[in-house]
């Protein structure tokens, strides 16, 4: 315990000294994040320094082993680090699908060389990753994917198309599901491979979203050469890696939605925007009832997150519980954003300089994808029915 105390003091001092002033505004939005990688343009010198300093300590990925660029912290220490970062309003130094998705999969399935090479570069923010799972014909039925990798001796030749590849146009490398055996049952002919998006034959075409921005792409592979050492795990056993990665992705997506909106409860936002009546209540009883229900659900959900995380620390494997978190967290987040739109009323339906070009409305539209990305809500419910409840026919 006293070790943890020392760690806390040292961490606090280190943060005090090293966290740049402009990285202490508690900002958590996707747009304000530092995604790293070869193409990254730092928004400020502070953002660059923050990534560099945290990367050097391995605190961009605090619990990863030191030999792969991590901080080598215990779960308890990582919690302390997070608490101390929150206390000074420190931003996350680095977002990367390499941290939340690829990392856990490589730690479990990657070869020693793969871990050393790829994890280390992720920890320093040098390589930004994208996820090549979905295809036009393979969404919920991911295992029916058709992108082909043909054996050409020391390398594969990859042909096919992915879709909805988030940030493919800005990413440096892709972790990609490909079919290496078209005769085998669909789950048993899939391999998990890694390659550079600058490889010859890779093209991306951004897709415009309902929110007006274009964060995801159609991604095309035309005779792309991928060295065999970039195969993760065993050929034709990629589905195991893919599924394991998905549990982490789902847990990550679910965990984003514990509560509070920019540090304020829905009730506080409503009181300040709509106003209060003589009793000090939000001046709209029906809306107020919906707001308090959402807060109750958010607090209950945060508690569930905590309990799952404690169980994981105690060694329990995540598995299908990630579907519980993913399902509820995303549906709750959609509800909260619907409520924020109700609270905002006509002012937030406008898209002008008055409201950062309709930032709230754009966020609201973006949340509609939460219950689709990483497997739809319907798919999560099906997994719960099948793997947790083991219902007949599920």
């Amino acid at each position: 315990m006293s070790d943890l105390k020392t760690f806390r003091t040292e961490t606090r001092d280190w943060l005090e000294e090293n966290c740049p002033a402009d990285m202490r505004d508690g900002e958590k939005s996707e747009a304000a994040s530092c995604w790293g990688g070869r193409k990254w343009q730092f928004s400020t010198e502070g953002q660059r320094l923050w990534l560099e300093r945290m990367g050097k300590k391995g605190w961009t990925v605090p619990t990863w082993p030191k030999e792969y660029g991590g901080g080598g912290l215990s779960k308890e220490q990582a919690v302390v680090l997070q608490q101390e970062m929150d206390a000074v309003g420190a931003r996350k130094p680095h977002e990367n699908f390499g941290i939340t998705m690829l990392g856990p999969a490589l730690l479990k399935f990657g070869s020693e060389e793969q871990k050393r090479e790829h994890l280390t570069r992720v920890s320093r923010g040098e390589i930004r990753w994208c996820q090549g799972y979905s295809e036009p014909g393979a969404g919920s039925d991911l295992a029916s994917l058709q992108t082909k990798a043909e054996d050409a001796g020391d390398h594969y030749i990859v042909n096919g198309q992915k879709i909805w590849t988030s940030y493919a146009d800005q990413a440096d490398w892709i972790f990609c599901l490909v079919r290496t055996d078209s005769e085998a049952p669909k789950h048993r002919g899939i391999s998990f491979i890694l390659f550079d998006m600058e490889s010859e034959g890779v093209t991306t075409r951004p897709i415009k979203l309902i929110s007006g921005s274009s964060p995801f792409c159609e991604t095309f592979f035309d005779n792309v050469k991928v060295p065999k050492e970039n195969l993760v795990h065993v050929e034709n056993s990629g589905w195991d890696v893919a599924k394991y990665l998905l549990t982490h992705e789902r847990e990550m997506i679910g965990s984003l939605f514990g509560g509070m909106t920019g540090g304020r409860s829905l009730g506080e936002i409503a009181a300040s925007e709509i106003g209060i009546d003589d009793k000090g209540w939000v001046d709209d009883p029906l809306l107020r009832a919906k707001l308090v229900q959402a807060e109750i659900d958010s607090m209950a959900f945060s508690t569930l997150l905590q309990s799952v995380s404690d169980r994981a620390s105690a060694g329990e494997s995540l598995g299908a519980v990630s579907s519980v978190l993913k399902y509820y967290g995303t549906e709750l987040n959609k509800r909260r954003h619907e409520l924020l739109m109700e609270v905002g009323g006509s002012d937030e339906l406008e898209m002008s300089e008055r409201n950062q070009d309709g930032q709230r409305a754009r966020n609201w539209l973006r949340t509609k994808g939460n219950s689709i990305e990483g497997g739809t809500s319907e798919v999560q419910l099906q997994i719960i029915a099948k793997h947790i409840l083991q219902m007949p026919g599920a």
């Binding site: 109700e342 002012d347 509609k368 219950s371 689709i372 809500s377």
Partner: protein, 379 residues
């Protein structure tokens, strides 16, 4: 009254449906959105609509209208809701026509109703001043000045505010914000001195504006209805608009659902149409039930207005609240059931998601009308 359409009404609906499908479909809306047309609608189309009698749908024949009543207006709005047609229909043909008919002097009627029916004049109703609909909280001041009034204050969320040549403006002549009494309606020309209009881009890409009145002078004959007693007349105008919006949203809900249904019946995963999964079938069946209800309450509200029933306000409030909820649900479920496709601008479902959110907010969302019902019914 039976909740069915008579022959004339059915003919009107079929004509509207055919005309809009051909001339004002979703693709025309996309073109408007993506072009530089800052008016947000096609003037030429509005002229054609006027010549078909739509601009004068509520206006009696003596003023050049087609006198079809609220059910007729609702049928057109419903078809427009299906196609997401952008037009001055609600603000001019429904809101302004209702206000002038109910409250206008003979001179006002003669001047404006004829022009409205001919498609020559566009109106907008300027009510709200804050983010949530609350007509009784009107603050914009009208102070007596000479033989008229001087108006000072702000209005926002003024549908068609950017294209109107006249505004119907709710102003406070006595009392304080929140008082039912003390509100007066004024007819103000858009080119009045000291009146500025700022077009505000909206999430649904429709024409809305903010207005600033910086001591706008109007004469006494600009008053619409009675001084200090504008609220009841305003409620009638708003109810006509709410019923019209309910009709529009019920059309949008129906169309969003139809698109979704055809998508899930086509889209295959696991070797079968995703529409074959019971998880989606039951939700589709539920939506169908909700939409049937939405259509029924919409027609009831429109008929109640035509019959000038005492309790029309209640039927309208129920319609506006219920249909808004149903339309939002239809757009949300539609987006979810389209999977990744639903998130793309290339698919139409997102356009419905945006439009129904705005239509739901305009003239009171479901909570507003729910609170009002609870208050008036005493629980």
């Amino acid at each position: 009254m039976p909740l069915v359409l008579n022959d004339d009404q059915q003919m009107l609906r079929d004509a509207a449906s055919g005309y809009l499908a051909e001339n004002a479909s979703i693709n025309s809306f996309r073109e408007l959105r993506d072009s530089d047309n800052s008016d947000g609608f096609s003037h030429q189309l509005w002229q054609e609509m006027a010549s078909m009698g739509w601009a004068g749908i509520l206006v009696p024949e003596e003023f050049g209208g087609s006198g079809f009543g609220h059910v007729g207006a609702g049928l057109i709005a419903q078809e427009m809701g299906k196609h997401l047609t952008a037009s001055p229909f609600m603000a001019t043909a429904v809101l302004a026509a209702t206000g002038l008919l109910d409250l206008g002097s003979q001179a006002q009627k003669e001047q404006h109703l004829t022009a409205i029916a001919a498609g020559k004049s566009l109106f907008a109703l300027a009510i709200d001043e804050a983010r949530k609909h609350a007509p009784e909280k009107t603050m914009l001041q009208a102070v007596r000045s000479g033989n008229g009034f001087q108006l000072t204050g702000r209005k926002s969320f003024v549908a068609d505010g950017g294209v109107a040549d006249h505004f119907i403006v709710a102003a406070r002549t006595t009392g304080k914000p929140g008082d039912h009494d003390g509100i007066t309606l004024f007819l103000v020309p858009a080119d009045a001195e000291n009146l500025t209009c700022e077009k505000t881009p909206m999430v649904d890409s429709r024409n809305v504006a903010r207005l600033e009145f910086d001591g706008v002078l109007v004469t006494a004959d600009a008053v619409l209805g009675e001084v200090d007693d504008g609220m009841s007349g305003l409620n009638a105008i708003l109810d006509a608009g709410r019923a019209c919006l309910a009709a529009e949203m019920s059309g949008s809900a129906e169309q969003a659902f139809a698109m979704t249904l055809s998508y899930i019946n086509e889209r295959k995963q696991f070797g079968v149409p995703v529409g074959s999964f019971q998880a989606l079938q039951h939700r589709a069946a539920h939506l169908h039930t909700e939409i049937e209800m939405a259509k029924a309450v919409t027609l009831a509200a429109l008929q109640a207005l035509d019959a000038r029933e005492e309790s029309a306000w209640k039927t309208v409030a129920i319609a506006k609240a219920k249909v808004a909820q149903v339309a939002i649900l239809a757009a949300q479920e539609g987006t979810q059931m389209h999977g990744g496709m639903g998130m793309t601008d290339a698919f139409d479902i997102g356009l419905y998601l945006k439009r129904v959110r705005v239509a739901a907010e305009l003239f009171g969302d479901a909570s507003f009308h729910g609170n009002r019902l609870a208050e008036q019914l005493g629980f």
